[in-house]
Amino acid sequence: MSDSPVKLSVEGLTKKFGDLEVLRSISTSINRGEFVSIVGPSGCGKTTFLRIVGGLEKANSGEVKLDGRVLTGPGSDRGFVFQQDNLLPWRTVLANTEIGPEIGGYKNSDQRKTTMRLLKLVGLEGFENYYPRQLSGGMRQRVNLARALAVDPDLLLMDEPFSALDAQTREIMQTELMRIWEEGRKTVLFVTHQIDEAVYLSDRVFVFARRPGRINEIVEIDLPRPRPLDMKRTPEFMRYVDHIWKLIEEDVRASVLEEHA
C-alpha cells in the first residue's frame, strides 16, 4: 500500500450513451478515510459515475485508479450498496451477508466471526437466520450494508441506499451509517439526491451539473464530528444546504420541466 493519501483517483472520465454525453471528462480524487457525497439533479450522471467506479459499467475514456491500480471491472476491493436492497430472497441474512466472501472463495470460520461482528455492528444480531421477506425495509438495507462491508472493501460505494425508506427511518439510518463509519473510517463514495443527507454525512460534497454531467463545485463540509441529528437545524448546516441547493436549482428546474414535457 502506498503512503499517498489518495485512495481513489479519476482522470478524464467520459461516458456516452449513444449521442448523449452522460459524463464529460471528470477528474478528481478522494483521500483515504474520506466520506464524499455526490449530489445533483436527475440526469447528471451521478449514478453512472458510481457504477463506473464500481466496475458495473465501462467508461468511453478515462481511468479510475484505486490505490494507484487501474480498475478494469468489478471486484471485492469495492463494496457496492445498492439503491434497492437486492437481497437474494432464498438466502438468510447470514448467507446474504457472506455472498461476497463466498464468491471470492475465502469463506471460513474466521470469516463467520467477521460476519457475526458486522451483523452486530449494523444492529441485526439475532436475525441471522431470518429470510429477507421477514425483515422491514430498514433492516434489509442494514443487510445490504453489512454485505458490502463483509468483503472488507477499500472503498464503499453507496447508491442512494436510503431513498426507498420513509423519512424517519432514513434519518435513523443516517446516524447509524455515521456510527458504523466512525468504527472503521472506510473511504466512502455516496450518491444521493437529498442535499441535507449529503451535508450531514460528508467531509466533501461533489455537486454535479447536467448536460453533460460534470463536477460543478466541490463543497467542503467543515462541521465537527460526531454529528448529532439536531445539527441539521443549525444555521451553519442550513447555510451549506442553501449553498448547494442554489448550485443545482436551475438544473433541477430544467430537468423537472423536461420530465413533464
Binding site: 468489478p74 437486492n86 437474494l88 455472498i99 463466498e102 464468491i103 433492516m139
Partner: protein, 271 residues
Amino acid sequence: MSEAALQSSEPGRGKSFAASFLAAVRARMWGIGSVVGGLALWEFVSRFIVGSKLFLAAPSQVAVALVNLAGTGELGKHIYISGLEFLIGYVVACVLGILLGLSMAQSPAAKQALQPWVSGLYATPTVALAPLFILWFGIGILSKVVVVAVLVIFPVVINTEAGLRTTSVQLVETVRSFGANARQIFFKVSLPSALPFIFAGLKLGIGRGLIGVVVAELFGSRAGLGQLISQSAETFNMPALFAGVAILAAAGIAMTSGFGWLERRLLPWRE
C-alpha cells in the same frame, strides 16, 4: 429497534394431539363438509334415484369393488404397471425437460431453434397421438412411457426456461459487483431463482402424466388402471370402473400434495 416489524409465525405448541386434531378439523370444516356431503349425495342419487349399478355406482359399492379387486391381487398388478409407466415417463421427461429448458435459457440459438416446437407441441393435444405411439412401440409399457414423457416434458421445458429468463437483473448485478463469474451467477442466482418455476412445471406435469397413462392404456394394453377402466366399461362393471378412477384421483392428489410438502421443505424462503 423501531423498524423491527417482524412477521414470524410460531406454530402452537404444548397442545394435546386430540385438541390440535379438533382444531385442524374445525379450520377445514367447509372443505370436509363439502366432501362428505358430496359423497352422501352421490350415494343417495345412485341408490334411490338412478337405482342401477349399470349406470352409476354408489361410493359404498366402489369401496366394495376396491376391496375385492385388492383381494385378488388384480388391483395391485394394475397399480404396479401404471405406476411404473408413469414413473419412468415422468422422470425421463423431467430430466430432459430441465436440460432443454436450461439450454434454451443459456443459448439464444437453442431457444430460437426449439421455441416453435415447444410452443406448438405444448398447445397440441399430443395425447391424440397415443394410438400412433402404440403402433410404433408396441402394446407393452414402452408406448405408455413415451406418451407420458411427451405430455410431461413441455410444461417442464417452458417453466424452466421462463424461470431462468425472468431472473432479476438487479440480483445478477449484485453478485457481479463482488466479481462473480458466469458459473457463480448461474448457481448462486439464476438457478435458485428459477426453482419455484421449475417446481410449478413439475407439478403441472403430474396431472398431464396421469392423463397420458390412462389414455394410452385405453388405446391398447395388457394391464394397468386404464386397462381396468376400459375392461370394466365393456362389461358394464361400474363399481370397478370407478375404483380405477378413484385410485388415479388419489394418486394425483397424493403426488400434488407431496410436491407441495417438498416445495415447502426445499424453498422455505417463499410465503
